[in-house]
């Protein structure tokens, strides 16, 4: 019985350590609110601005647990630029020597992102030239773009958490 209690104590301690470790990742505790500013879209793809904003908002609000606020009141702002968009890079082919068919393509989006602590005036996390990818069956660029945006969310969340 005593052995079992000891085991449970150790297990609880490990679980707490695990929780503590998880809570310790992410942004500093004083950062509770965020404003996602529209990204400067330097590509000829107008719809990207909104889609990137949506993805970034998902990353910082749903995954990093921050609340949305106006730029003036927010503890942190997220800003950046979309510097490149490649909609249809071929990645897989079938066919013979004479006829080649592209079966899968890839969307690549390159962004520069910065999460800035407004009170301290210092960047909490930044990445320049971050390229995210999403591959798709030829003719379904939207699917590839969606995957690339999911890749962006993962990169932001992992990047922000790895800073602390």
């Amino acid at each position: 019985m005593r052995l079992l209690s000891g085991f449970l104590v150790v297990l609880s301690a490990l679980a707490l350590a695990g929780c503590y470790g998880f809570a310790g990742g992410g942004l500093p505790p004083e950062i509770n609110t965020v404003a996602v500013l529209p990204f400067d879209n330097q590509t000829p793809e107008p719809t990207l601005t909104q889609e990137i904003s949506r993805a970034v908002r998902e990353a910082v609000e749903q995954r990093l647990g921050l609340r949305q606020a106006t730029e003036q009141r927010a503890d942190a702002v997220v800003r950046g630029a979309i510097t490149r968009y490649e909609p249809d890079l071929p990645v897989a082919y079938t066919g013979s020597d004479s006829v080649v068919t592209v079966t899968r393509r890839e969307v690549q989006i390159t962004v520069s992102v910065e999460i800035l602590d407004q009170r301290q005036g210092k960047p909490l996390w930044q990445r320049n030239g971050l390229t995210v990818r999403g591959n798709y069956e030829s003719g379904n660029e939207r699917e590839g773009r969606q995957r690339a945006l999911e890749d962006l969310v993962v990169n932001i969340v992992e990047g922000a958490q790895s800073q602390w």
């Binding site: 330097q42 590509t43 000829p44 793809e45 107008p46 719809t47 630029a81 660029e141």
Partner: protein, 234 residues
């Protein structure tokens, strides 16, 4: 010190021939002499045949050359038939972007304000670069001709003249020329796929002089989000 340069005669002839071809005067007329007055309905049908049947997204590379040098980048245009488009162009390495929404021959907005005029001097010429012709304005004389797979037509107003020639088939082509008070404003030659989507387009503006080349990379049938008609910066 005297420098001697040996010139191969054959090479010299080729060079001079090429130079003479480059300095050639304006290309031939778009409308044949034999063109006759045509009805508004005829012209409307010809114009309609150049308009895509559904919303299209074209992506392209662009290269602008003038006396100062050249600049290029990527671009996209979203065409919503019959008369609306959104144009976005970006220079290399984030050097700048320009966007515009145009309905017919009127910009709803342009960002920056000279987004269109930096590239093309005239809206019918801009539309022609995407393989699309514009209907005639009111009060112009209409002339035209059908010759096999080639259609040619002209709108002649008090000052402006717009001429189109369109060839259909495997190697389709659209030529558009605009003159103001007799002076050539610009000429567009667009090569077309059998489904009338643009493959390449060249605008020549003799007054600058300048040349704008578009090489189309992809054509997608698309349905656009309503947000694309709104300005980039509210």
């Amino acid at each position: 010190m005297v420098q001697c340069i040996r010139i191969d005669r054959g090479a010299l002839l080729v060079y001079l021939g090429g130079f003479a071809a480059g300095c050639r005067t304006a290309p031939g007329p778009v409308i044949p002499e034999a063109a006759r007055p045509v009805s508004h309905d005829d012209v409307a049908a010809w114009v309609d045949s150049t308009i895509p049947p559904h919303q299209q997204l074209y992506r392209f590379k662009w290269l602008l050359r003038d006396e100062r040098g050249s600049a290029g980048g990527r671009g996209s245009v979203r065409v919503a038939p019959p008369d609306s488009l959104r144009l976005d162009v970006a220079g290399p390495f984030g050097s700048g972007t320009a966007s515009a929404v145009v309905v017919g021959e009127h910009p709803l907005w342009t960002d920056p304000p000279d987004a269109i005029s930096r590239l093309v001097p005239n809206y019918p010429l801009m539309w022609a670069m995407f393989g699309i012709t514009r209907p005639p304005p009111g009060g112009v004389e209409l002339r035209g001709l059908v010759n096999g797979s080639t259609l040619a037509w002209q709108y002649a107003g008090a000052t402006d003249t717009v001429e189109y020639a369109r060839t259909t088939g495997d190697s389709g082509r659209l030529i558009a020329e605009v003159r103001q008070s007799g002076e050539l404003i610009g000429r567009v030659e667009t090569s077309l796929a059998p489904d009338n989507t643009p493959l390449k387009a060249r605008l020549t503006v003799p007054s600058a002089p300048a040349q704008l080349d578009l090489t189309f990379l992809s054509t997608d049938r698309d349905s656009f989000a309503s947000a694309i008609w709104l300005p980039r910066r509210p």
